[in-house]
Amino acid sequence: MNSLDLARWQFAITTVYHFLFVPITIGMGFYVAGLQTAWYRTGNLKYLRATKFFGKLFLINFAIGVVTGIVQEFQFGMNWSSYSRFVGDIFGAPLAMEGLLAFFLESTFLGLWIFGWDRLPKKLHLASIWAAATGTLLSAYFILAANAWMQHPVGYILNAQKGRAELTNIFTVLTQKTALTTFFHTIPSAAFTGAAFIAGISAWLIIKKKDVEMTRGTLKLGLIAMLISFVLVGISGDLTSRVMTQQQPMKMAAAEALYTTTESAPFSLLTIGTLDGSRSVFQIDLPSVLSFLSTGDFKGVVEGVNDLQAKYESQYGPGDYKPNIPLAYWSFRLMMGFGFLGAFFALLALFQMRKGGTPRGRWFVPAMVTLPFLPLLANSFGWIFTETARQPWAVFGLIKTSAGVSQVVSSGAVLFTLIAFTLLYGVLAVIEVGLIFRTIHIGPRPEVEYDVDTVGGSDNRPLVMSY
């Protein structure tokens, strides 16, 4: 493998890994803030127990998201310095804004929240978790705007002399349709992920008969939030695929392994056989659905891979403009499939819980145990799809991934860091999962009202929170 392939693998591994934790953080942050608000409003200690219990899980997860996030920012310069030179004038701005507007807010107010239980007035303490949660939203917005620019560059001109893209309008970059639909797709997905976490863990605690007063409520909360966010994910997914068809028709064609331009194109549910354009052995199709998904019209025309390849050759010069089609085809389906499966489990469990019932049946335990993992898989496949099916481009139509890699970094150096990060991340995953299982095993602890002390000076009161 050359340094380009190695750098791509490194980006894929570190980014997919980082994004396992990010949606949990975004989703859980808001649920924890909501639970604490319920405690603040009602004084009911079951809400405090839920806040503390899920807060603990949230923090274990947040920590690993934070530390793996630093790699993301450094990686552009380290492995992709030619890309950084080309896009820096535009791409750097949302990254810097993310730091100034989002990272400071998240980290500072989370510190206040974790250690502030007995140091801040209740209202301010509650406000700090809301501020931290807002920080995660802002962070998602800026980084998604940067990514949207790679999918669909706007608000720039090409400076041929300097060999780079230059920003002409920051508002266009921050408010283009691609950025907004992606944000509207990613945030409900994060809400879905966090909710699946809460639901799955609550179900497990119910099975173990731990704090049923609290866990019944949090199970219901998780399941309902899953269903609401699933609907939003679906609506925004529909919007996203239409924007994608308009802006990156090759991606949609690859997702469907559609080789020739077709009117009333079917959506293939399952294909057995090859995806290389030769006939498949066995196929289940939904007639006209692809046309509807991508154009909003059952009779719409969807462009095929071969026609697009010919079109791009005349537009951008000779070259291969096809992404990895089997990967695009399957990752697109796995993204949707895992999402649907999670929503289906949630619906089933919620149905059995109506009128005070308890979910039961042989499906319940395995379904609830797998529940938190389903959105993680869906999220990962979604990103694998949207990034790999943009290839060969790093920025669509502007710079190819192969032109973005660092010129001065040897393949040995990239291989070394690739192996080191992979091993390190593997060890950290084991530790993280161990801590989460242990926290769930212990379950929610009894809680008491806090005696808040905001007076300065030295004293010897035991600390509510210490490292």
């Binding site: 701005a93 660092s406 212990i442």
Partner: protein, 348 residues
């Protein structure tokens, strides 16, 4: 003042902020084994960092992001050129951050011991490497124009390990150790405070010697005397000695402020010595990266200036407020059941 100069200044401010704030974090992390005599001590020491370390580290992320946005050529050449040191810093920051969050979750001595090692190494390595990196930037590294037209780093990893740069590393290492000791003597009570206080004086003297040697060398290395850099270097020495004296007289708050100011003048001096270059080349000044040939367009710089001018004061206010909220000293006696973690079943 051009927007390029404004951003050079802002990036200098971000590094000053980063080194003052994460500087004491690194110091405390390295001092952990030396100021503690038991679990309660260790946890009290770590608790002083608890609410603030993550916010402190964001200064680095913003400095990186701002360099990317304002000087993409600098960001690209520096990060791809200083590849292995930055990789080591990343690994160090990863294990160190997780160590803070995870070490006290269990009481098992082996578990805690391992994380304590991670905290020590994860603090010492960046404290040393940042100095090495900055000294190399000031000294100039092999940069040449590549066939693509961009100015690229053409040295290897071992080019970065020259005597001047290593001395720079020892300076940041000892300065951060001392700064951490000042922070601990200000933020803890009882035995830890006494130990940190004593260490601050000894470490402060060692740091003074290395820093003065480094600054003399730096000033002589420049082709001609840079008066501003010279003044900032002298100010660094004066504030540093002031910090030691303040500490001797038991004025811990002043000692911490003085060592913070000394770090600020030290870092500002290095940036002053660079200006308007951002990465001088040892292969001839025609290959220097400067604020002019490395910068983004004026439009981008203008947009980012607006964001920075609005946001930086707001950030300073709320981050400062955090320090006010957690202004009390932490003592070992406040840690209940220090040998137990929240994930040990025995607890409660």
């Amino acid at each position: 003042m051009s927007f390029q100069s404004v951003w050079f200044l802002l990036i200098a401010v971000l590094w000053v902020g980063y080194f003052i704030l994460e500087g004491f974090d690194f110091g405390v992390g390295m001092l952990l084994p030396f100021v503690s005599r038991g679990e309660a001590d260790r946890r009290a020491v770590l608790t002083t960092l608890g609410p603030v370390w993550d916010g402190n580290e964001v200064w680095l992320l913003v400095a990186g992001g701002a360099t990317f946005a304002a000087f993409p050529e600098w960001y690209a050449t520096l990060f791809s050129g200083f590849y292995l040191p930055l990789f080591l810093i990343l690994v160090a920051l990863i294990v160190r951050g997780l160590a803070f969050e995870y070490r006290s979750k269990y009481g098992k001595p082996a578990w805690r011991k391992r994380w304590d090692i991670a905290i020590f190494v994860g603090s010492a390595l960046p404290a040393l490497l940042w100095g090495v990196a900055f000294a190399n930037i000031v000294r100039g590294v092999p940069l040449e124009k590549a066939s693509s037209g961009s100015i690229e780093y053409v040295g290897g990893f071992f080019n970065l390990l020259n005597p001047y740069a290593l001395l720079g590393g020892v300076v940041t290492l000892t300065v951060f150790l001392t700064h951490g000791a000042h922070f601990l003597s200000l933020k803890t009570a009882g035995e830890i405070r006494v130990r940190a206080h004593a260490l601050a004086i000894r470490l402060g003297l060692v740091a003074a010697v290395t820093a003065v040697a480094f600054l003399v060398w730096s000033n002589l290395m420049l082709p001609s005397i840079n008066t501003k850099f010279l003044v900032l270097s002298i100010a660094t020495a004066l504030f540093w000695v002031g910090a030691i004296f303040a500490n001797l007289r038991g004025r811990e708050g002043w000692a911490f402020i003085a060592s913070s100011v000394a770090i600020a003048t030290f870092v500002s001096g290095l940036f002053e010595a660079l200006y308007p270059r951002v990465m001088p080349s040892s292969r001839g000044s025609q290959f220097d990266l400067t604020i002019f040939n490395a910068s983004s367009t004026n439009y981008t710089l203008k947009v980012m200036t607006v964001v920075a001018v609005v946001m930086t004061p707001i950030v300073l206010v709320y981050q400062g407020w955090t320090y006010w909220v957690f202004r009390k000293r932490v003592s070992a006696s406040q840690i209940q059941h220090p040998e137990l973690g929240v994930l040990d079943t025995l607890h409660q």
